[in-house]
Symmetry: C2
Subunit: 95 residues, 2 copies
Amino acid sequence: MKDNPKYQYMSTIMKAMAHPTRLFILDLLAEKEYCVCELQKKIGTDISTVSRHLAVLKNAGLISSRKVNNQVWYNLLCPCVLDFYNCLAKIKSKN
Amino acid sequence: MKDNPKYQYMSTIMKAMAHPTRLFILDLLAEKEYCVCELQKKIGTDISTVSRHLAVLKNAGLISSRKVNNQVWYNLLCPCVLDFYNCLAKIKSKN
DNA sequence: TTCCTATTTGGCAAAATATGCAAATATGTC
DNA sequence: GACATATTTGCATATTTTGCCAAATAGGAA
């Protein structure tokens, strides 16, 4: 029962969200579409790192991308994931 | 901005949930209180592993525990985390 | 073609996570 | 005290994740 595909599937998505930078990216994409280089400026890490974070989110089905000339624009697919922020805000973790 | 404590905090909680066994545990605790040995029977891994999963969830503030004699009973603190399941169910990941 | 900008990918090292076994701890019973 | 049951912790190992650099790829402009 613990290896129920339901939990495997959900943990893939939760894992994709379980990183400060990726949560920040989701928050940004909730406002508007961003290209990689704009996100890189906001985040401040190497652009290859940003690209990999985006790949993780896209692979989990949380965002989509479209290519315009030599830029790639990313969009949030499931704004409902942000509702979760309100729930988390109520939790007092010990960290 | 990416190391905003808000995102650090939220990622701790997401990370705690980002494991099939721990999602299963949260689902079980949504019904009723469980002690470690009962959870161990349902999950099937070593009891020390179950204990460690519970410690992760507790540390994130998702569950609480109370000791009765030589047993420890665990409770779900934030049933709202389960609402998230409905959101995730709409997402098609590539895994 | 050459050059330029934007993005992704390969490789690698460091850090974090997962898990089982054995040992330690806690609580109750005999 | 000795013993039994429930749980946690120490340790070792295996796996996964992260993040940078350099190289590869893609598209447009000169």
